[in-house]
Symmetry: C2
Subunit: 394 residues, 2 copies
C-alpha cells in the first residue's frame, strides 16, 4: 500500500502537454467559495452565468448549452447517444485517436457506422466528406474532430458543415482541444452539436465537458423513438435541471462549476477573439523555435493547431527519456504520442493559462538541452532565439 | 443575461440536506496543490492511495475499486451497464426515488426488468427478495438501494446478499448515502457491486462516484458477449488506467481526486467505525429533538438511516416556506421531498463534516421557530433540550 499518511506535495509543474493546462489562481480561489446545494435558489445564478458565458465562447445563442458533469470523453458519448438511435447510419471521419474513439462510441450506441480514414496528421477536407456522403444512402449524422489532440491537426469545419447539410445530415463536432483557443463559431458555421472540455484552452480544472445543441440536433433529440441509453447524459433530462424548471437530475459538481465560472470570466475579460490571437501568436513562436532546431512538425503545414503542436521525434532519440528529463530537470510536462504514434511524436500544448511566451522559451531551451544530451545536436540557443524574434516582431 | 461580471459571493450555508455536505477546510486546501497531468508518474501515488483508502471505507480488498469521474447517478449507470447485457433478467426492489431510477437505468441498458415495489418509507426485506427470486427463472442481478436518499430508510444488506447468492444472482448495491456514514462491509456481507458518491458521508465535494466490483461481478464484466454501452463507464478500460498499466482512458479530474484523497485521509484518521458511530450518535440527538417537537418521522422505526432523517410535514404547514425561512434566516439547507413526496416530508442530512451536535441543536432551534411562525406550536426549546440530553448522556 502506498503511503497516504504523508502530506501530498506534488511538484509544481508547468503543464505543456495535451491538457490539463495550468489554472489561473483566481480559478483555484473560486473553488474555496462556500459550497451551496444544487437545489439552493442562491446557486442558480451560477448555472445561468456558466451557460451564458459558454454560449459566448462557442459563438452561439443555442438554448441547450451546458457543461456535462464529466470529462470530454463523456461529451463525445453524450453527442452520439443523444443523436443516434439503433441502426442509424453515421459517417465518422477518422484522422487520429479521437476519431477512432468516435467510431468506438458510436458503435456502442448501435449506430451503423461508416468510417472514412484519413492518414493521421492530415486534416478532414470537405471534398472527402462530400464524396463519402454522395456514396451513402441517408446519413443521420457526420462526426468530425475539429482539433485532433493526437496529431495536432485542425480541420475546416465551416465548409464541412455546408456539405453535411446539403445531404440533410447533422454535424457533430469534437471541439475538446479547440474550444477557447482557436476560432470556433458555432452559429456562423452552422454546427449542429459541439462539445469540449474544461481543462484545455478554457483554463479550468478537468472534470467538466461543455456541450451545445443547435435546433436540428434538439429536434432529433426531442423526437427520438428509443430512450437515450444513458440517463446521466440524457440531454432532455439535463436541460430540465439547467433550464428554469430546475428539476433534480443529479448532484451538480458545485465547486467545479465555481471554477468553470471563474475561468469563463477570465475569458470574458480577455475577449474570445483576443484569446484565439494569443494562442496563435504564442504557437507561432514555438513553431519557429522548433524549426530552428531542425525538428520536423508532424501536422500538415496549412492545418496546424495552435493550442497543440506535434513534433516528430528525431531518429535515435528516445522520446520517453526526453519527457522524463523535462519532468525531472525542468518541471515541464509535454505529451507523448497516443496509440500508433507512441514514441514517434511529442505533443506540446500551449493552452489557456499555460499559453504564454515565457513557457515557449523555457520548453525550447529544455528540449534543446535534452536533445543535445542524446547526441541530436549542439545546444546553441537557436530555438529560443527564433522564438524571441517572433515575439519581438509583434 | 444574469450578471457574471460580479464577484461570486455565495452565502455561507450549513448544509443539512441530502448532500452535498460541508467540506472540511483541509479538503478545500488540497485542491490548491499544484495540478499534475493524468499521465505524470508523480500523480500515480494519488491514484493508488485513493484506491487503498476507498477499499478500507468499503470494507473490501477488491482490486477493481476506483472513483468514477462523475456523480453517484453515473455510479448507478456504471453498475448496470457493466453487468447487464440485453435481455438479461434483473430484479430491482423499489422503495423510493432511487430504486425507481435503477429501473429507469436498467431499462436503458435493455435489461428484462422485474420490479418489486415496497411502499416508500419501508425497507427492502430479505423474505421479499427470496419470494421474488423463487418466482423467477434465472436472474442475473438484483438491485437494492442500501440507504434510500428519498425516504431515509436503511435496508438489511447482509441477509439480502445471502438470498441473492442462493439464487446465483449478483447483488448490486447503491451505497450513495450510506458509504462512510453507516456500517457497510462489502467483503463480510458478500456484496458483488457497490457504488457511492463523494459529496455525502465521505465529506468530499460532489463530482466523483466510488465503485467496487467483487470477483463474481468482475467475472461477469470480463466475459461479456456485447460491449458495455458506455465507453466512459466501461470498467475494463477504466481499470486499465487505474491499474499499474496506466493506460490512457480519459483525463482524470485531478483536483477532485486531490480533494477525495484528503477527505479519505480524514476518515482514516477518525477511523471508519468511529465515523459510523459519530453519525449514529448525532442522528440519535436529532431524532430525539424532532420527536420532542411532536414531529412524525417518516421512515419505519427499525430501519431509520442515521445520515439522513426524514420528517413528515405537519398538516397546514407549508414545507417549502419552512425551507426558505431556514435558508434566509439561519443559512441552513435542509432537503424537501423528491417525486411523490414533494411537499410531504423534509430530509435532514447529518453527513460527513456536517454531522455534528452543534448543527443538530441549530437546526432544531430553527425548525421550531419556523414552525411556530406557521402556527404549529409554541417555540419552547423542547427539541433542543431533548437533543442536549442525548448528547449529554454519552
Amino acid at each position: 500500500m502506498s503511503d497516504y499518511r504523508n502530506e501530498w506535495q506534488p511538484p509544481n509543474r508547468i503543464l505543456l502537454g495535451p491538457g490539463p493546462s495550468n489554472v489561473h489562481p483566481r480559478v483555484l480561489q473560486a473553488m474555496l467559495s462556500p459550497m451551496l446545494g444544487h437545489l439552493d435558489p442562491d446557486f442558480w445564478p451560477v448555472l445561468d452565468q456558466v451557460r451564458d458565458m459558454l454560449r459566448l465562447v462557442l459563438g452561439t445563442t443555442h438554448n441547450w448549452t451546458l457543461p456535462l458533469s464529466a470529462t470530454g470523453t463523456a461529451g463525445m458519448e453524450a453527442a452520439f447517444c443523444n443523436v443516434v438511435e439503433p441502426g442509424d447510419r453515421v459517417v465518422i471521419v477518422v484522422n487520429g485517436f479521437f476519431g477512432e474513439r468516435m467510431v468506438d462510441i458510436a458503435l456502442r450506441c448501435r449506430a451503423d457506422v461508416q468510417r472514412i480514414d484519413v492518414p493521421w496528421g492530415k486534416p478532414v477536407l470537405p471534398e472527402l466528406v462530400a464524396q463519402a456522403l454522395a456514396a451513402q444512402g441517408h446519413v443521420k449524422a457526420v462526426g468530425v474532430v475539429h482539433a485532433e489532440t493526437s496529431t495536432g491537426v485542425l480541420s475546416p469545419l465551416q465548409e464541412i458543415a455546408q456539405v453535411v447539410h446539403h445531404h440533410d445530415a447533422l454535424l457533430i463536432v469534437d471541439a475538446v482541444t479547440s474550444l477557447g483557443g482557436v476560432e470556433l463559431c458555432m452559429d456562423e458555421w452552422d454546427l449542429d452539436l459541439c462539445y469540449g472540455a474544461s481543462q484545455k484552452c478554457l483554463g479550468a480544472p478537468p472534470g467538466l465537458a461543455p456541450i451545445s445543441l443547435g435546433p436540428r440536433a434538439v429536434d432529433v433529440v426531442t423526437h427520438r423513438q428509443h430512450p437515450v441509453q444513458s440517463l446521466y447524459l440524457d440531454m432532455v433530462t439535463l436541460e430540465a435541471y439547467w433550464s428554469e424548471r430546475r428539476r433534480y437530475h443529479h448532484t451538480a459538481p458545485i465547486l467545479m462549476l465555481y471554477a468553470l465560472r471563474e475561468a469563463l470570466r477570465l475569458i470574458m475579460e480577455e475577449g474570445v477573439q483576443q484569446r484565439w490571437q494569443r494562442h496563435a501568436h504564442t504557437a507561432a513562436g514555438l513553431r519557429a523555435g522548433l524549426e530552428a532546431l531542425e525538428l520536423e512538425l508532424f501536422a500538415a503545414p496549412a492545418y496546424r493547431l495552435d493550442p497543440l503542436t506535434t513534433v516528430v521525434v528525431p531518429d535515435k532519440v528516445d522520446a520517453a527519456q526526453v519527457q522524463r528529463q523535462l519532468y525531472q530537470h525542468y518541471n515541464i510536462e509535454i505529451g507523448g504520442g497516443l496509440g500508433a504514434l507512441q514514441g514517434k511524436i511529442w505533443r506540446i500544448g500551449l493552452m489557456g493559462d499555460s499559453c504564454k511566451a515565457s513557457n515557449v522559451l523555457l520548453v525550447l531551451a529544455a528540449l534543446e538541452h535534452s536533445l543535445a544530451q542524446q547526441g541530436y545536436a549542439d545546444a546553441r540557443g537557436v530555438g529560443v532565439a527564433a522564438a524571441q524574434q517572433v515575439f519581438a516582431a509583434s
